[in-house]
């Protein structure tokens, strides 16, 4: 009973928010265009949050995703600026993300540094590297190939299903793919289930013969990869790269995962619930802006709503 309440508490809040905006913004909120817009706006955050879920499943963290996103955007943009073909830039950026993630993994799993400290350190390092190779500048304009930034503007036209003039943005599709892969990996592969086992009881996992170190290493690599993809999406969307642009992603991604955790049975992170968390944050921003709520009040409201959702979940859990 209360278990259901706890699980559905945040979901109920989510639905309440949607109903509230639909009521107050009858013309503009629940329109296909607005909804598709929201998914596009959230696509970068969704990618980071979904891949962040992979490490959080093991009770780990990655604070460096934001600066990794910036760094990978910068790497791609610098290569574009040096007239390398697009695929080189993309590959390099993704490679940097994977390597950076694995570096986090080495620190956390092989050396045994607490994830919080290790990724706090690499946050600084990645961000410094982004500044260093870009010389602190924003790279934009002709340096960014239009095929690259065009990707973020394009989409699959939805005329066929009766939505004239609306298209499903490539960014949304990319995010959907990443989420689907993360979901499948975590929920339906031995690899994913092992990560959950590590999160539940690392010692038991170790005693059962799981290669805890290797698994953690890989998981961090995947999170770094996700951050790099998000960084590329971000750079395409803003048609430019600067060394701080990803920094807002980290706290939001963690908040989304935590919001999601209030929805799951044992309070463990799960990708689809993370997605609900992401949508909740994005819809609040969209709806409150449309209602012309002052940006500062919006900030306070978002904070309070997140706290309340988690508080309701915690309280009903405690009463269980």
């Amino acid at each position: 009973m209360t278990k259901t309440l706890r699980q559905s508490g945040t979901l109920a809040g989510f639905v309440a928010i949607i109903v509230f905006f639909a009521w107050n913004l009858p013309e503009t909120f629940l329109t296909p265009r607005n909804l598709i817009n929201i998914t596009q706006q959230l696509s970068m955050l969704a990618v980071v949050a979904a891949t962040m879920t992979i490490v959080m499943v093991m009770n780990d963290f990655d604070l460096s995703v934001g600066s990794m996103a910036s760094l990978s955007g910068i790497v791609a943009a610098m290569l574009f600026a040096a007239d390398y073909p697009i695929w080189v830039g993309l590959l390099a950026a993704v490679g940097v993300g994977l390597l950076g993630g694995l570096f986090n993994g080495v620190l956390v799993s092989l050396i045994g540094i607490l994830p919080f400290v290790a990724t706090l350190g690499t946050l600084t390092v990645f961000s410094g590297a982004a500044f260093l190779i870009s010389d602190g500048r924003t790279i934009f304009g002709r340096d960014i190939p239009s095929a690259f930034s065009g990707f973020a503007r394009g989409g699959v036209p939805l005329d066929a299903i009766g939505l004239e003039g609306i298209s499903l943005p490539f960014l949304t599709l990319t995010a959907a793919c990443v989420i689907a892969i993360c979901w499948f990996t975590l929920e339906h592969t031995t690899f994913g289930r092992r990560l959950y086992a590590i999160g539940g009881n690392a010692e038991a996992a170790h005693l059962a013969g799981l290669k805890v170190k290797r698994l953690r290493l890989i998981a961090f690599g995947l999170t770094g990869l996700g951050a790099a993809i998000a960084g590329l999406m971000f750079a395409a969307r803003v048609a430019s790269a600067n060394p701080t642009q990803g920094s807002g992603l980290m706290l939001d991604a963690i908040a989304a995962v935590f919001l999601g955790m209030t929805m799951s049975r044992r309070g463990e992170p799960r990708v689809l619930y993370t997605l609900v968390g992401v949508l909740m944050l994005g819809i609040l921003d969209n709806g409150l802006t449309q209602m012309q709520v002052d940006s500062y009040v919006r900030e306070i409201l978002v904070g309070l709503i997140v706290i309340s959702a988690v508080a309701v979940a915690s309280l009903s859990k405690a009463r269980r």
């Binding site: 602190g136 924003t138 973020a152 803003v238 921003d285 802006t289 940006s295």
Partner: protein, 282 residues
């Protein structure tokens, strides 16, 4: 009329001033203005532009590099909503950009500094290249100092701005002063905006080196800087953008666009004012 003002930089005093100028002019015209700050997040600025388009505002005013928010501008263009830039940069998708001439401002302060130190000595520069409008100031100043053979740029410091820019600049300047203890070893401090200039001033005064004649210049002439300049100390000059003027001019442009007038110029420069001890309290 319903106008959205969207910026990631509202925490900057300058942005605030012209947003207020715009709001004042808009109020006179009876417009409904929604100011949206995305706290440094450019992608969120795109999102908020898209939201404003969905919401069906009559015009959008931005204070962010248009090249970075092209996605949002395209959405506005599709919906036929005019976009006006306040100190935003030129772009085909922006009907008019109302701004001060950043190149001229940086040139004026750096030339002032070079002349005050008689074209020789060591200069500390405070720059911030991540933000395009400030970055170009640094480029201009580099060029000016490079043209004086006896001026040596001692250090080109990028302070941490997450604390507002004063405290970290001050800590950096304290370290530089400590590294150069000889009186006269630092001739001037050129800052690309006022906060580092204020931090450097505090550092110099506290180190007891206020009487060495180190000349400091800033840009923006925010009230705290004006106070400091008016004291007649090391902080000698800054340059004031007419923020209220920019806001008012932007409002005027919006009004014209809404009335269906054609805009001939895509950039409108609002005059700046050089501020020294003589006119700081005006």
């Amino acid at each position: 009329q319903n106008v959205a003002v969207i910026t990631p930089y509202l925490a900057q005093p300058g942005t605030q001033a012209y947003v207020e100028g715009f709001e004042a002019s808009a109020a006179e015209r009876g417009w409904d203005v929604n100011v949206v700050d995305t706290a440094g997040d450019v992608a969120a600025a795109i999102a908020r532009i898209e939201d404003a388009v969905v919401q069906g505002v009559d015009a959008i005013v931005i204070n962010v590099d248009p090249a970075q928010v092209t996605a949002g501008l395209l959405a506005a263009a599709d919906a036929g909503i005019p976009v006006v830039g306040m100190d935003a940069g030129s772009d085909p998708l922006v009907a008019v950009n109302v701004t001060s001439n950043g190149y001229a401002m940086a040139a004026e302060t750096s030339v002032y500094l070079a002349n005050r130190i008689d074209g020789e000595g060591a200069v500390v520069m405070f720059v911030f290249d991540a933000f395009p409008p400030v970055q170009l100031r640094g480029v201009v100043a580099d060029a000016v100092f490079g043209n004086f053979p006896d001026i040596e740029v001692l250090d080109r410091v990028t302070p941490d701005v997450s604390d507002g820019g004063i405290a970290d600049s001050r800590a950096r300047m304290e370290a530089i002063l400590a590294a150069n203890p000889e009186p006269g070893s630092i001739a001037g401090v050129w800052a690309a905006w006022d906060q580092p200039a204020l931090g450097a001033l505090q550092a110099i005064e506290d180190a007891g080196r206020a009487d060495e004649g180190i000349v400091i210049t800033g840009i923006d002439a925010n009230p705290q800087a004006r106070d400091a300049i008016a004291m007649g100390g090391n902080f000698e000059a800054s340059i004031a953008q007419d923020f209220t003027g920019i806001g008012a001019a932007a409002a005027q442009v919006v009004e014209g666009l809404l009335a269906g007038e054609d805009q001939r110029e895509s950039v409108i420069f609002v005059p700046t004012q050089f501020v020294t001890v003589a006119n700081a309290t005006e």
